[in-house]
């Protein structure tokens, strides 16, 4: 049977469109998977995938087609091909977290989130690249090499970064090598790469998706979420990913709503906060203009725009860069060469540890382990870790106070558009500034979504971020949908 649509059109579909086409038998799940496998092969130069799983993809797609043919109950993502960030443990498929220390590691178990996706009928295309242990904003820290952003500046062929840490996910979705991808977000790792590649990404409320089977970076901040090419696609996919998991004590036992029903397009009377502290000194005029434009769109749609204050915002980055490394230094202690992954033999146990970890971890991971170990050390704990915890509580309280007056907060997603390797990537502190608008959301455990809203003068996508109340992803989808239609962002990276 040959499909009614050419492969390039199959890979260009949204999830919603693909589900529709599959339902109408315009094409099969196998054809949809094949089209994507072909695109993956074609764009290997982007280095988005670390492992391609064509056999698995075709088997899953075939099983989906059979379920459909037999008239069995179908899942919310029946036949939809997805890319999986290499931070999710996948049964029998190499899972590395972008690190040499886990190279070759094939977990004998499946993360709860990916298991939920397969349960919903989704098809796995492969594992996508990422910053090592999700530590980075450029995807340059991956042991498997950087990922290239399919977007180029106008008249410039310099390769740009896709952002990070979910850089492989962003690049794969933007380059039409997957209908959508899983990401994880500890300080902005879904939203920043989504903004850099012109796609939608949502970090749900902490506790909405199970962390079981996701390689831990900073346990109190990590959260999985979908990255896709429309707000609705993210809504469909989050519905399948989310839910209570008794295996994760921090996952929350709340029913998962049908997020697609939130996309009403109606924001009349909704109060939208504009936090004055997010107006940074030296912020680019383009970003400022886009932000004002976003507010204008919402106002036009009937929302009320209010200036709000989140007074502890300036402490967010230093707070984040104490808490996240502190937790990471402990979470990464298990990579010791004893039970799995890399082992470099040594003269003694300590020598083996040192050699294994020195060779297995990259520079950025080693830096954060050192920072984290330092801030938890006797004599420094109170000055750093404890103080950061107090600030974290104050930052969360800022949001609580703000949400008494507004229903959603609008900010830029990133302080700039995608950059090239070598541009501001040498100075770690400069790199950390990428997270300035996103880390507050993780510290407060709130949901945040990035929606592509326009192109800068160089033709690169820029995103706007919406921040919501805890477990109010629905408002984010509703407002995000309005931003999306107002912006009518239809630009695509050339050649994809």
């Amino acid at each position: 049977m040959s499909s009614a649509l050419p492969p390039s059109e199959l890979t260009g579909l949204t999830i919603a469109g693909a589900l529709d086409g599959l339902a109408k038998r315009e094409f099969s799940a196998v054809e949809l998977a094949q089209a994507h496998l072909k695109a993956m092969e074609k764009h290997r130069d982007l280095n988005a995938y670390v492992v391609e799983t064509p056999d698995k993809a075709l088997a899953m797609a075939k099983a989906s087609d059979e379920r459909r043919a037999k008239g069995e109950a179908l899942g919310a993502l029946e036949g939809v091909p997805l890319a999986i960030k290499d931070l999710f443990c996948t049964d029998g498929v190499q899972t590395t977290a972008g690190s040499h220390i886990l190279e070759g590691f094939k977990p004998p178990y499946e993360s709860t989130v990916t298991a939920n996706l397969w349960q919903a009928g989704a098809v796995m295309l492969g594992k996508v690249n990422m910053d090592e242990f999700a530590m980075g904003s450029s995807n340059l820290t991956s042991h498997f090499g950087g990922v290239t952003n399919p977007w180029r500046r106008k008249g410039d062929n310099k390769r740009l970064v896709p952002g990070g840490s979910s850089g492989g996910s962003a690049s794969a979705v933007a380059a039409r090598m997957a209908l959508a991808a899983t990401g994880t977000d500890t300080g902005g790792s879904i939203r920043q790469p989504a903004a850099f590649t012109g796609i939608v990404g949502i970090k749900p409320t902490y506790g909405r998706c199970s962390r079981w089977g996701i390689v831990a970076f900073a346990s109190s901040l990590d959260q999985a979420g979908p990255m896709a090419r429309s707000v609705k696609d993210c809504a469909i996919m989050l519905g399948a990913m989310a839910g209570h998991d008794p295996k994760d004590s921090t996952s929350v036992d709340l029913p998962v709503p049908d997020y697609t029903r939130a996309l009403t397009g109606d924001v009349r009377g909704l109060r939208v906060g504009i936090p004055k502290e997010y107006r940074l000194d030296g912020m680019s005029a383009e970003i400022e203009k886009l932000w004002a434009q976003g507010a204008e769109w919402l106002k036009k749609a009937g929302a009320e725009i209010k200036e709000i204050s989140l007074p502890h915002t300036k402490y967010a980055l230093p707070t984040y860069y104490i808490i996240a490394p502190a937790e990471a230094s402990s979470n990464l202690a298990r990579y010791d060469g004893v039970r799995f992954g890399l082992r470099v033999p040594g003269e003694s146990l300590d020598d083996m540890y040192e050699k294994t970890r020195a060779e297995g971890f990259g520079k950025e991971v080693r830096r954060r382990i050192m920072i984290g170990t330092y801030v938890l050390s006797a004599g420094y704990y109170d000055a750093y870790y404890l103080k950061a915890q107090k600030l974290r509580a104050l930052i969360a309280r800022d949001f609580e106070t703000a949400f008494r007056d507004v229903d959603v907060i609008l900010t830029p997603s990133t302080p700039s558009a995608a950059f090239a390797e070598g541009e501001n990537t040498d100075d770690p502190v400069q790199m950390y500034l990428n997270d300035v608008f996103t880390v507050t959301v993780n510290l407060a455990g709130l949901p945040g979504i990035s929606v592509p809203a326009g192109l800068n003068a160089e033709g690169l996508p820029l995103g706007l971020q919406l921040i919501g109340r805890a477990f109010d992803e629905e408002t984010l989808f509703r407002v995000g949908g309005v931003l999306e239609s107002s912006a009518s962002f239809t630009a695509k990276p050339a050649g994809y």
């Binding site: 443990c89 996701i214 937790e327 010791d336």
Partner: protein, 487 residues
């Protein structure tokens, strides 16, 4: 304040020993503290290890409610404060048998706060020792260094098993008190069913903090003797360590705070090879676990199911059975013994029952190296023996032989008495005949007796008893003999 006998006589005066104990008690539970893996002792190496215990990537801990219940039960048994909110922290260090590189423990907010244990000293006095805290934590795996010339083996079966760390105040002043503390704590834990208290298998382990000071001085620097695995060794280690510290100070030295090991073979403590790097555990709240919040109603429910504990049982034995405090103490030390005793005493002379249990039964058990639950003589059987004494079927003296036979053969008392023909002779005719016979054979002694030598009565009793094979009822024999000798 120490009693005089507990002070150490040094060259410069008398020294007081200050002791605090940290006991690690393995929680009795089917599954581990944060994983579903089994906790059975003695399984094949690495056969009881879940992915959580082996710290595989992405694995998360989930608290086992049963272990929390056991900790609360223990806290209630120690008459301690139960903290309705407690927090799990990570204690970070690298070792091959600690898969995650951290142990989940409780640091600043333990589940149980201050409590007390009352010690029963051998001289009958009582002492109160404060409990500082009890917290829950994971056990580590085991490193086996003797299986291969150059390699160490790791067994993770123990990794993740729940431990209660029970910390005492520095309230003890002698090795004897430390031993009494451990015995009492073990007894309470066994009564509660929260730890089997088996020090040999390592399900109860003890760290001893020892320091010395001149009376009235502030506390001295302490040394911690790690992982002592029997009560006897705890006592020996304390005796040695206290003297070592006194000698150092009297020689003008100072005590270095350090961790030491007790070597039972040499009878000495020695410094554990100090690692070049001092441990900095970098405790911080485990972000994978929410604070542990207990429902006060649930705590009340647990409290309602607490068994009668040794102190209460002892007081009841004194009032209900009229036993001495000491005898009651001997019987309540182990829950099984107390239960055994009560079964024997039911409907019988309680004091007689107490004597039989604590002297004859304990004596035979000790000799045979048996535990009361393995006793070949059941409580019912012992009761049957006591009944035979009560109804004059046998005498108390014969009963001891019958008991020995019961212990040996497991047969009931009645059967042994019948088989061996030990039934007491209460037939006056038979006794009279025996008396007549003895009197006839010893006419000279009869004359002497009648001449005023009363003490010869004992001689006649012995002779008649011998002639009846010890079976004559003693009271009847006495009565008849006196009458006949009186002429």
């Amino acid at each position: 304040m120490s009693e005089e006998k507990n002070l150490i006589e040094g060259r410069t005066g008398k020294w007081e020993i200050i002791l605090g104990l940290e006991v690690h008690a393995q929680v009795i539970s089917e599954a581990k503290l944060f994983s579903g893996a089994s906790t059975t002792f003695g399984a094949d190496p690495n056969s009881q290890v879940s992915l959580v215990d082996a710290a595989f990537p992405g694995m998360l801990p989930v608290i086992n409610k049963r272990c929390v219940e056991q900790a609360v039960r223990t806290g209630l048994g120690l008459k301690a404060e139960i903290n309705l909110k407690s927090v799990f922290d990570r204690k970070n260090y690298f070792y091959a048998d600690l898969p995650a590189g951290y142990q989940i423990s409780q640091y600043t907010q333990p589940i149980v706060g201050k409590g007390t244990i009352t010690l029963d000293m051998p001289d009958g006095s009582k002492r109160h020792v404060g409990i500082t805290r009890l917290h829950l934590e994971q056990d580590a795996g085991k490193s086996l260094h003797d299986q291969h010339p150059t390699k160490s083996y790791i067994d993770l079966n123990r990794s993740g098993i729940a431990l209660m760390e029970i910390v005492s105040e520095p309230d003890m002043r002698s090795a004897e008190e430390a031993a009494a503390y451990l015995k009492k704590l073990r007894s309470i834990l066994r009564y509660l069913g929260t730890c089997d208290g088996n020090m040999e298998e390592g399900s109860m382990r003890c760290d001893v903090n020892v320091s010395v000071r001149k009376l009235g001085d502030p506390l001295g620097t302490r040394c911690e003797i790690k992982n002592v695995n029997s009560i006897r060794y705890v006592q020996q280690a304390i005796e040695y360590e206290a003297r070592r510290q006194v000698e150092i100070i009297e020689d003008g030295g100072t005590i270095r705070q350090e961790t030491r090991l007790y070597d039972p073979g040499k009878g000495e403590t020695r410094s554990m090879r100090s690692k070049e790097h001092a441990h900095d555990y970098r405790y911080f709240p485990d972000p994978d676990l929410l604070p542990l919040v207990l429902d006060p109603n649930w705590v009340s429910e647990i409290k309602a199911t607490l068994p009668e504990l040794p102190d209460e049982k002892r007081a009841r034995f004194v009032s209900q059975y009229g036993l001495s405090d000491y005898d009651a103490g001997v019987l309540v030390g182990e829950k099984e013994t107390a239960e055994y005793y009560e079964a024997v005493a039911k409907g019988r002379d309680a004091k007689l029952a107490a004597n039989w249990v604590s002297s004859e039964l304990f004596g035979q058990l000790n000799k045979a190296g048996k535990w009361i639950t393995d006793s070949p003589v059941s409580a019912e059987a012992l009761g049957g023996l006591i009944d035979l004494i009560a109804d004059n079927t046998i005498s108390g003296r014969i009963a001891k032989d019958v008991f020995a036979a019961m212990f040996e053969t497991g047969k009931p008392a009645k059967q042994i008495v019948e088989e061996k023909g030990l039934r007491q002779v209460t037939d006056t005719g038979a006794i009279d005949a025996a008396i007549d016979d003895i009197m006839a054979k010893n006419a000279d002694k009869v004359a002497e007796y009648r001449g005023g030598k009363d003490k010869l009565l004992g001689f006649f009793v012995g002779q008649v008893m011998k002639a009846t094979g010890g079976k004559a009822n003693p009271a009847l024999l006495n009565e008849r003999l006196k009458a006949k000798l009186a002429g």
